[in-house]
């Protein structure tokens, strides 16, 4: 069964339809790019998929669980990271790992093992006892991603994980994403960097609450006769401006 399946998923706020009957599925181990302009309905859709917001209509299953009746199960089985909120700045690196491990119900033994592994992989052993507030942004983002998949979730949701990060660190961050995907973790990611859209296996583009395009980056470029994903995105937005 695909890790994410939605059918006609809709959210209304009063008379405003934030997410309008979106239907798609994401395959296991896939890196799925979820794109759209500000206000297109991405965050609302993502909140429904994470079990944080009840849909108005339609169906969705995430990690095999129903978004209406099993939202707690969903939360236990997914990882989530956003640029805006990720780690506790006033806790040490080690303490943040321990805190999130505890939240997801890992045993003390597992937390200890995973802490060692994680610090080694990120080459952050020397910073284990530093406050997170003292880390450069790029390090925080890499640490935050690693913590989001600490409990081995089958899916991880990344909400603009690389905003403002320097170009080198941004690429190191994508190395982590590739590595997780190659281990079978499904990655659902939003970004405003169109070059990053190219790193996804498939990409969907939302306009005004609807999914207007969904395919591999290469086929989307062909479909829109565009030189880059940036062009594809601008064409869809212009079409909106005309309507």
């Amino acid at each position: 069964m695909d890790p994410i399946i939605t059918n006609g998923l809709t959210k209304r706020f009063g008379s405003f339809i934030a997410t309008n009957a979106i239907t798609f599925e994401v395959k296991k181990g896939e890196i799925f790019g979820f794109l759209g302009a500000n206000g297109a309905g991405k965050t609302t859709a993502m909140r429904m998929l994470c079990g944080l917001l009840r849909p108005s209509s339609g169906t969705a299953k995430v990690a095999g669980y129903d978004v209406y009746t099993q939202s707690e199960k969903i939360k236990q089985n997914i990882g989530y990271m956003s640029q805006k909120f990720s780690l506790y700045e006033d806790l040490k690196v080690k303490e943040n790992i321990r805190f999130y491990g505890g939240i997801y119900g890992l045993s003390d033994k597992a937390i200890k093992e995973k802490t060692t592994q994680l610090l080694k992989k990120l080459q952050m052993e020397a910073e284990a006892d530093q406050l997170v507030s003292a880390l450069p942004l790029g390090w925080k983002q890499k640490l935050s991603f690693s913590i989001a998949i600490l409990h081995d979730p089958s899916i991880v949701f990344l909400d603009e994980p690389t905003g403002g990060v320097d170009p080198l660190t941004r690429r190191q961050f994508w190395d982590l994403i590739y590595e997780a995907a190659s281990r079978g973790v499904t990655v659902f990611v939003t970004t405003h960097y169109m070059d990053e859209a190219e790193y996804c296996d498939r990409v969907s583009i939302m306009v005004d609450g609807r999914i207007r395009a969904l395919d591999t980056p290469r086929r989307l470029r062909e479909q829109f006769s565009a030189a880059s994903m940036d062009d594809v995105f601008l064409q869809l937005a212009r079409e909106k401006a005309k309507s």
């Binding site: 759209g36 302009a37 500000n38 206000g39 297109a40 640029q83 450069p136 942004l137 790029g138 603009e160 905003g163 403002g164 990060v165 320097d166 170009p167 080198l168 660190t169 690429r171 994508w174 590739y178 190659s182 405003h192 960097y193 169109m194 070059d195 190219e198 790193y199 980056p217 290469r218 880059s228 994903m229 940036d230 995105f233 601008l234 937005a237």
Partner: protein, 306 residues
């Protein structure tokens, strides 16, 4: 006419952290000058010093010939500043925010309406909406209007397009080009490397130090190594193989291609081909390209770290 911005040997530390180290540059009249660098590079600290909100430890700076320390009151009257964090009143409407800022500067929206008209008409349909309820792109347009409402001589824009979608970003830069033509000097910062190409000159900043100051075209022309774009069916495997190749100098993902430089330049291509033949990549393509501003930035970052 005074030079809009002159920065000379400015230093600023916060405890042990050197936020700015030996910063010097000038912005000319009607110039769109970009400060390009990641979060934490020191961009906002520099903006705060130039807008008289923070004192430098060392060095001098002037805005339109006015000293940022002695003449801070005068600078505040002629500078337009859009801080990195959305700083308008969320619970006032679009219209109320604009009138509020005009009043603070002892003027009216009507007096300088020609300057903001083009931008304001785009948000006018939402003029009764609280600023906090606008989308990201709309918030930025309103903030720009508020920074312009007193007809400033110099405009300081700290990351106006961060977190804004590509369409709104493009619109925003189009507006900056038109403001420039009206003779306003603009200092703008951004973490988006592609936006550097839209500036007259740029300063690349990292860890509080300027890596380079020049026109974007010159910066690109200075990149001396031959570079190739490479792709194959399995990109993750390709990037790992290329990084494992001893002759590789750098290999980074760039959209649908990898950008590759070799230690021996063009002389290293044959050895690379022989190496890749053993790896059996499907749909392999490789062709020569010109480096872009992001390639240059990463190259400079790597040299600085050495």
């Amino acid at each position: 006419m005074q030079t809009p911005i002159v920065v000379q040997d400015v230093h600023k530390s916060f405890g042990a952290v050197k936020a700015l180290h030996n910063i010097s540059f000038t912005v000319q009249e009607g110039e769109l000058f970009g400060l390009i660098g990641p979060d934490g590079a020191g961009k906002s600290t520099l903006f705060r010093i130039l807008t008289t909100l923070l004192l430098a430890d060392k060095g001098q700076a002037t805005v339109n010939g006015l000293d940022v320390v002695k003449d801070y009151k005068a600078i505040r009257k002629i500078a337009g500043y859009m801080p990195g964090r959305f700083s308008l009143y969320q619970d006032l409407t679009v219209e109320e925010n604009l009138h509020f800022f005009a009043t603070i500067f002892n003027t009216t929206v009507e007096a300088n309406y020609d300057l903001i008209e083009e931008i304001y008409v785009q948000i006018a349909p939402f003029k009764k909406r609280p600023a906090g309820k606008l989308s990201g792109g709309m918030k930025q347009k309103l903030a720009l209007c508020c920074a312009l409402v007193h007809k400033p001589a110099v405009l300081f824009l700290d990351e106006p397009t961060t977190g804004v979608d590509p369409v709104s970003r493009k619109e925003f830069w189009d507006m900056l080009q038109r403001l420039k033509q009206k003779g306003i000097a603009i200092l703008v910062s951004t973490p988006y490397m592609d936006e550097a190409m839209l500036c007259d000159r740029v300063a690349l900043i990292q860890n509080g130090q300027l890596l380079n100051i020049d026109t974007p075209q010159h910066i690109i022309a200075q990149f001396s190594k031959p570079m190739w774009a490479v792709r194959a069916k399995h990109m993750y495997r390709l990037i790992q193989d290329l990084r494992a190749f001893p002759g590789t100098d750098s290999c980074y993902a760039f959209g649908e291609y990898l950008h590759l430089t070799l230690k021996d330049g063009t002389a290293g291509v044959d050895a690379l081909q022989a190496y890749l033949d053993t790896k059996h990549h499907e749909a392999f393509t490789m062709f020569s390209i010109q480096a872009g501003i992001e390639d240059c930035f990463m190259e400079l970052m790597n040299t600085e770290n050495v």
